[in-house]
């Protein structure tokens, strides 16, 4: 099919974009890379009356490294992030997850902020940002506010973003000393939506024990799932194979209530989470030790 007619706006600044959103409160939809919104419009699952195209707002795109960490503009293309040397150095988890997002054509156009705000539970980037404890900067008529990724996600395809607000920037804290991360997922074919996936960050203390861990899961809930029980299970522990297996079992049995669908049953997703959390933690620990 084809998109239904809509009123089209192409603001050049964030302020103009916010003004259009405010004027058409509730009827206007921001257009980022369009790799999720336009398919929905093609199938008329989405019929926004007004589109606010953010693609000509230069201030929204870019990657900046600083002493505190990395700041990524919401309209930065996924392909640009994938190839960025600063991202590879300061946020290797992001760099590792990106090639799992669909295909080159999609990543050329798709944006980081678009994927984060769309809040597809099967998307890689929301889980990555939750694992990294990233902060999202939102701008609206009431000003600018920052919100932790974990609080941003409120349910299936729903977020704390108000209809008149825009996600403008993502702040990723600098990796802790002696920390490592890993991203793993299982999809039927590379580029398909994952049946389950894991983003894990582990920091070690001087004795080599786990000082802190953040493990986020995708495709097994209404949004990215922070696996708190799994993290508790290894925090303070020596990272033996047994301890890692304990954490993986906790993730599979206590942290999730996965859906079953035509792609995978709930039981299979649980099984995958157990295996993938174990692999992600092993890899993250190896990387932390090598630092």
């Amino acid at each position: 099919m084809k998109p239904a007619p809509f009123e089209y706006h192409r603001p050049g600044t964030v302020e103009e974009a916010l003004a259009v959103l405010a004027r058409h409160s509730g009827d206007a939809k921001p257009l980022a890379g369009g790799q999720s919104l336009i398919p929905a419009m093609n199938f008329r699952l989405a019929r926004p009356a007004v589109l606010v195209d953010l693609n000509r707002i230069p201030a929204l795109a870019g990657i900046r490294g600083s002493a505190d960490g990395l700041r990524i503009g919401a309209m930065t293309r996924q392909r640009a992030v994938e190839r960025d040397a600063t991202v590879a150095r300061d946020a290797p988890l992001v760099a590792e997850a990106l090639p799992h997002i669909a295909h080159p054509q999609i990543r050329t156009r798709g944006t980081v902020g678009g994927s984060l705000a769309h809040a597809d539970p099967a998307a890689e980037l929301p889980a990555v940002m939750v694992a990294l404890d990233a902060t999202f900067d939102l701008v609206g008529p009431r000003g600018r506010r920052s919100i932790a990724a974990t609080e941003f996600y409120t349910g299936l395809f729903t977020t704390a973003l108000a209809p008149d607000e825009l996600l403008v920037e993502i702040a990723i804290p600098r990796p802790a000393p002696r920390s490592g991360s890993a991203f793993v997922e299982v999809a039927r074919r590379h580029g398909d939506y994952a049946l389950a996936g894991v983003a894990a960050v582990v920091a070690l203390d001087d004795a080599g024990r786990c000082r802190a861990a953040r493990i986020a899961l995708l495709s097994v809930g209404d949004g990215p799932v922070l696996a708190r029980k799994a993290a508790q299970a290894i925090t303070g522990e020596s990272l033996t194979a047994e301890a890692i297996k304990g954490a993986a079992d906790a993730a599979a049995s206590q942290d999730i209530d996965p859906p079953g669908d035509i792609h995978a049953s709930a039981a299979y997703r649980r099984q995958l989470v157990g295996v993938l959390v174990r692999r992600a933690l092993q890899r993250a620990c190896e990387r932390a030790r090598s630092h």
């Binding site: 099919m1 084809k2 998109p3 239904a4 007619p5 809509f6 089209y8 192409r10 257009l31 369009g34 790799q35 336009i38 398919p39 093609n42 199938f43 195209d53 693609n55 392909r79 669909a102 295909h103 080159p104 054509q105 999609i106 050329t108 156009r109 590379h190 580029g191």
Partner: protein
């Protein structure tokens, strides 16, 4: 509700173009219906099949997931822009020679995705070719001949006097 048309100017296959079209059209519809360039094919409209791939400023994108309006001031290349001076692009020759097309529906998109790869990587590994073409589905030829055709064209573009292996053309004896 008749939509008033929007007009954009952009570069289409190396030439300046100005087109008027309904503003809610995707680039795919604009190319096929308003520019009369039907080489770009219409597939899934979801971003799964890759058959509507065109080059936007030299980089592969899906024309079904891009508004026509988004192309104002940009450079769009379709399969019609690959041949030059009445001669096919070496990729087109290689695809024909090696039978890297069967029904041909996916071919324009494969050609463009491969052209973009060779523009930045004149000597791609088989793995790099697979990655660059991962977003393009072929449901009848299979991918092996497509990879071989890209490798053959790459060699010729590097100026090597490449001929396809006998078993590539005729199968194993």
């Amino acid at each position: 509700m008749p939509d008033p048309k929007a007009t954009i100017s952009f570069e289409l296959n190396g030439e300046p173009a100005t087109l008027a079209f309904a503003p809610h059209k995707t680039l795919l519809e604009v190319l096929r219906e308003d520019a009369g360039l039907t080489g770009t094919k219409h597939g899934c409209e979801l971003g799964e099949c890759g058959t509507c791939t065109v080059l936007l400023d030299g980089t592969p994108v899906l024309s079904c997931l891009l508004l026509g309006l988004a192309c104002a001031g940009h450079r769009v290349t379709t399969v019609e822009g690959m041949a030059a001076g009445g001669r096919l692009h070496p990729l087109q020759d290689a695809f024909a020679e090696l039978g890297a097309a069967q029904c041909g529906y996916c071919t324009p998109a494969f050609l463009l995705a491969a052209q973009a790869l060779l523009a930045v990587e004149p000597r791609p590994s088989r793995a790099a070719i697979k990655q660059a073409l991962a977003g393009n589905l072929c449901r009848c030829t299979g991918y092996l001949k497509i990879y071989e055709a890209v490798e053959l064209a790459a060699a010729r573009l590097r100026g090597e006097d490449a001929t396809p292996a006998r078993e590539t053309l005729y199968g194993h004896a």
